[in-house]
Structure formats: structure tokens, C-alpha cells
Amino acid sequence: MPIDPSVVDRVARLARLELSDEERQRFARQLGSILEYCATLNELGDDVAGTPLPRDAVLAAAPDHEDGFFKVPPIIETE
């Protein structure tokens, strides 16, 4: 499916390209079919996060913690 000519114009402007009317139409058609082909990547699906470790169990192993964070000595000097 061709992409919208207004999108072609916006992309051409971003790319600093002046297009002829013929190129505008041709690119709308060709980019449409190339992008359609590229959309096959979506068959692979996204990574899905699994169940994380319970926060308390992780913090229990740390030498020091406060309010749900690991706690360390100051690293930025205060004047």
C-alpha cells in the first residue's frame, strides 16, 4: 500500500531532498511496498519481561539499603 504523499513530503524535507512530482508518486508506491515487507519483522513479536525477583529478597542480600534502594556513602562532595 502506498504511503501518504504528505508523509513523503515530510520525510523529503527532513532528508533535505527536493523531489519531482514523478519521484514523489514513485517513492510513495515503492516505499509503501518496502515498508510492508519490513513489517514482517513484527512476526517475531517483542521480548516480554518475565516475573522479576521479589524486591525484599534482593535487598536482603545488600550490605545496606533504605526505602527500597541500595544505599552507599556519598559520591558527590557537598560544600
Binding site: 520525510v11 523531489l19 516505499l31 512476526e43
Partner: protein, 486 residues
């Protein structure tokens, strides 16, 4: 694209004199080498096959070129390519196409088609190509020569005009594996001027060639022998695998299930990088400027006039894939799939030393056959592109003919293990005679070859060419004439 007659003769005379004087000579002393015209050569025009850079003379040598000179090579000139290395047929050159020495009606492959044709036709023994998605291996396979893409980071990219910086790599093209090994050995190694070049010792490629294929574990990539592969191409590659088995290699099958996703991944990533890399051609620092009253129009009009169709199409695609609203769905997604593909290859290479597959799904196609259908043209690189995405070394070695047209065998190795790739390729080459065959143009004078093309043109009835096609053919003759000055 350019022949440095005076410079080459001068350098050759110097090496002759050093030879006559006796004493040690560097490895490429006096050997003529041609350089793809996207690699900077000080004092010699570098066009990238683009009108936008016509006449530009770089003020410096690429690291690979200075290494060649230090090794004694005589740089004879610059070879044709698809504009900015974007193409699979060398038809996208802004200066006219290159033809295949095995059949002048057909393409030599691309984008390093000029280097491939020059080596295959016997014009020079050695050439440099560059490979972003198959641009060394595919034309090598299409012209029955040897071409190798080294591991990403093995060879310096300093002075290689950037197309897709995370994929581009310079490599050797030659008539034999031994010649390719010699050339690679000269150009490989860390370069402080390229932060992506890696400080891993360079193996003695020529020295390790004779070790044979015995005991090497070779995995035949199952997914590369399916739909879209020309029957006799697949048979020739399978026969080559069996031949390696006969030489003592242990054959197994490996699975790379994400290979079908490599092509869309590549066309999103390579074009995205290209859209940024080619932003520099705007009429300010070098090359063409179309004068106008305001700066913005100077940029857009210069680029309109200077770039060819394929380059514009890829800049558009890359700009789109990187633009707000599409970045996550296209660019980022493609980056993730790239990781997946690399992981699959590395996993396969845990169990085997080499992965084997065809170089291209078909034999060389006819000029004009695919120019109007970008997706069909992209499919010519379906087996070479995954190797760039994974950053691995790959070689193309002649492994047969179909009706007189060359077929290439591809061997892919572990990162920085070029030595094993070359060694297996050498064992196969030395036990077959494909590499000894020469295209019909060899032995003809240039004018005989041109006359033959014209005779064929008259003899073959063809549909009336479209206007665009006619312009292309005319400019090709012009560029041929320019080459005869050699």
C-alpha cells in the same frame, strides 16, 4: 572510473629498478591493484559512482591504500560501483553500468562490479572491494573470482567513504584464494585512525592455506536451500559441500531460523545509517553545488541533482525509519532482530568451524531486468546480508557454471577466523578447476570485445528501449571509451 597511467608506470619502473638491484622486496612489489572508487586515493579522483562527487580529489589516502603502497602495490586506477555502494548490479553508477565479462548482456553484480569485472577479465590480478550487504561476495560469485568480506573490525575503514558504518568492510578480490589471502594480509590489522578496527593479531593467511580441509566441521545452512533458490545453483553448492566432505571435512546441518528476517532488518538499518552518513553531501564542503538564493533550497536542489534514484530512495527509507513515530517500530525493532541473527550465527559456529551456503540465489541477471523493482533487486543479496549483520568473515569461491554463467560458494567463519575460511576455500579450489576457466573476453583486444558487444546488440531483437534505458546505455559507451585511454 579513472586510470592513473603516468603514476602507475612511474611506480612500476621504480619497482623494476629495485628488483634489478636485488635485495628484499615487499609482498606486493610491482603488482597492479585496482581500487573501488569509494576508497579515498590522494591525488586521484574518488567519485563513489555519484554525480554529486564528480571531480572530487581527496587530500589523503585511505589506510588500506597507504598499506597497499607500503607493500609495493602499484595503484592503477579506480573501479566502477553502484552509487555510494548502494546496489547489486553496478547499474546504479552515475557514470554508466559495468558489464559481466562472462556475458556482456548481464550484470557483474554489485556494488563492487567494476573491481569484479576487471579481475575476471584479466585486466588486473588484484582489486579492493567493499562489502556492506554482499558487495564483494556477490559480484565475485557473479564473475567467477574470489572475494572476501573480512570480520567487521578486521580492516580499517579510515578513508572508506561511509555508507552504513556498522556494516561496511573493505576486502580483497582476486582470481585465486592464495592471491586474496596475500592481499588481505597486507590490509588487515588495527588502525589508530579507525576506532572500530580491532587489535587482534593478524594470522599468517598465506602460510596457513595448505593445511587442508581435513577435520574441519562445516555446517550446511538449512534455511538457505529453500524457496527462491535457482535449482542448479543449489545443486552446484550442495556438490561443493560434498566435495569438501570428500576432502575430509565433517559435514553437518545447521539451522539459522531468523535468516528470512535478515533482508528487512538490513534495509532498515543500512538505510538509516546511510541517511545520516549522506547528510554531508549538501553542496558545502565538496562536490556539486546548485547555486540558489537561500541555503535550504541550495541543500535540497544540490541533492536532487547530485543523487541518483536508488540513493534518494534509500535516504528516504532511512529518514522515515528514524523519524518520530516510526523509530520504535522500524529502526529499534530491526536493531533487536540484528542481535537475534548474530546470536544464531554464533551459536551455530559453536558447533562447527564454518557455515556453508550459496552466495546468491541465481546466476547473473540481465541488465535492466530488476532496475524498476527495488525489492527484487534486494533479494539478490539474501544470503550475503545476514553475514554483514552478524559481522562475520565470509568468502565467495567459484563452484560451477549454469549455461556458462558463474556460481559462487559461500563459506562463513567465526569472528576474526579468516584463516580457517581461506584454508577451506583453498582446499576446495585446489581440488577443482572452476577457477582456471576464463571468460570469453580474455585474450581479445578491447576493440574486439566492444565490437562483439555491438554485434550482439544488433543480433538480439529487443523491445524498443525506454528513454531512461537509452540514456543509460549511451552513458555506458561513453564511460567505456574513457576506459580505453588506458
Amino acid at each position: 572510473m579513472h586510470v592513473d597511467r603516468e603514476g602507475a608506470l612511474r611506480a612500476a619502473r621504480e619497482w623494476d629498478a629495485r628488483y634489478a638491484g636485488g635485495g628484499a622486496l615487499p609482498p606486493l612489489a610491482g603488482l597492479p591493484v585496482a581500487v573501488k572508487d569509494i576508497i579515498c586515493t590522494a591525488g586521484m579522483p574518488t567519485t563513489c559512482g555519484s554525480r554529486i562527487l564528480a571531480g572530487w580529489v581527496p587530500p589523503y589516502d585511505a589506510t588500506v591504500v597507504s598499506r597497499l603502497k607500503d607493500a609495493g602495490a602499484v595503484i592503477v586506477g579506480k573501479t566502477n560501483l553502484d552509487e555510494f555502494a548502494m546496489g547489486s548490479s553496478t547499474e546504479n553508477s552515475g557514470f554508466g553500468p559495468t558489464r559481466n565479462p562472462w556475458d556482456p548482456e548481464r550484470v557483474p553484480g554489485g556494488s563492487s562490479g567494476g573491481s569484479a569485472a576487471a579481475v575476471a577479465a584479466g585486466m588486473i590480478p588484484l582489486a579492493l572491494g567493499t562489502d556492506t550487504g554482499g558487495s564483494i561476495r556477490q559480484p565475485a560469485g557473479f564473475t567467477s573470482i574470489v572475494g572476501m568480506k573480512p570480520t567487521y573490525g578486521r580492516v580499517s575503514r579510515y578513508g572508506l567513504v561511509a555508507f552504513a558504518s556498522s556494516l561496511d568492510q573493505v576486502g580483497p578480490m582476486a582470481r585465486t584464494v592464495a592471491d586474496a589471502a596475500l592481499l588481505l594480509h597486507v590490509i588487515a590489522g588495527r588502525d589508530p585512525k579507525d576506532s572500530t578496527s580491532v587489535d587482534i593479531p593478524v594470522d599468517d593467511y598465506p602460510g596457513t592455506l595448505p593445511r587442508g580441509a581435513r577435520g574441519l566441521r562445516i555446517g550446511i545452512a538449512r534455511e538457505a536451500f529453500g524457496q527462491g533458490l535457482q535449482g542448479d545453483v543449489g545443486e552446484a553448492v550442495q556438490a561443493a559441500a560434498a566435495h569438501l566432505g570428500g576432502l575430509g571435512a565433517v559435514l553437518t546441518e545447521v539451522s539459522l531460523p531468523s535468516i528470512p528476517y535478515a533482508l528487512p532488518t538490513y534495509y532498515l538499518l543500512a538505510t538509516s545509517e546511510a541517511s545520516a552518513n549522506l547528510a554531508r553531501y549538501d553542496g558545502v564542503q565538496y562536490g556539486l553545488r546548485v547555486p540558489t538564493d537561500d541555503l535550504f533550497t541550495m541543500y535540497t536542489r544540490t541533492r536532487r541533482q547530485g543523487f541518483g534514484s536508488e540513493v534518494k530512495r534509500r535516504i528516504m527509507l532511512g529518514t522515515y525509519a528514524l523519524s518520530a513515530g516510526y523509530y520504535e517500530g522500524f529502526f529499534l525493532k530491526a536493531q533487536r532482530v540484528r542481535t537475534l541473527i548474530r546470536r544464531e550465527f554464533l551459536q551455530a559456529l559453536d558447533a562447527v568451524d564454518l557455515v556453508l551456503m550459496p552466495v546468491s540465489p541465481t546466476v547473473p541477471f540481465r541488465l535492466g531486468e530488476k532496475v524498476d523493482d527495488p525489492l527484487q533487486m534486494y533479494l539478490a543479496d539474501i544470503y550475503t546480508i545476514p553475514v554483514n549483520l552478524a559481522g562475520l568473515p565470509g568468502i565467495s569461491v567459484p563452484c560451477g557454471f549454469s549455461n556458462g554463467l558463474p556460481i559462487g560458494l559461500q563459506l562463513i567463519g567465526k569472528p576474526f577466523d579468516e584463516a580457517t575460511v581461506l584454508r577451506a576455500a583453498y582446499a576446495y579450489e585446489q581440488d577443482t578447476d572452476w577457477h582456471t576457466r576464463r571468460p570469453p573476453v580474455v585474450g581479445q583486444t578491447h576493440s574486439q570485445a566492444v565490437a562483439e558487444v555491438h554485434k550482439r546488440d544488433r543480433a538480439t531483437p529487443r523491445p524498443a528501449p525506454k528513454r531512461g534505458a537509452q540514456t543509460r546505455r549511451r552513458s555506458s559507451r561513453k564511460s567505456k571509451k574513457a576506459r580505453t585511454r588506458k
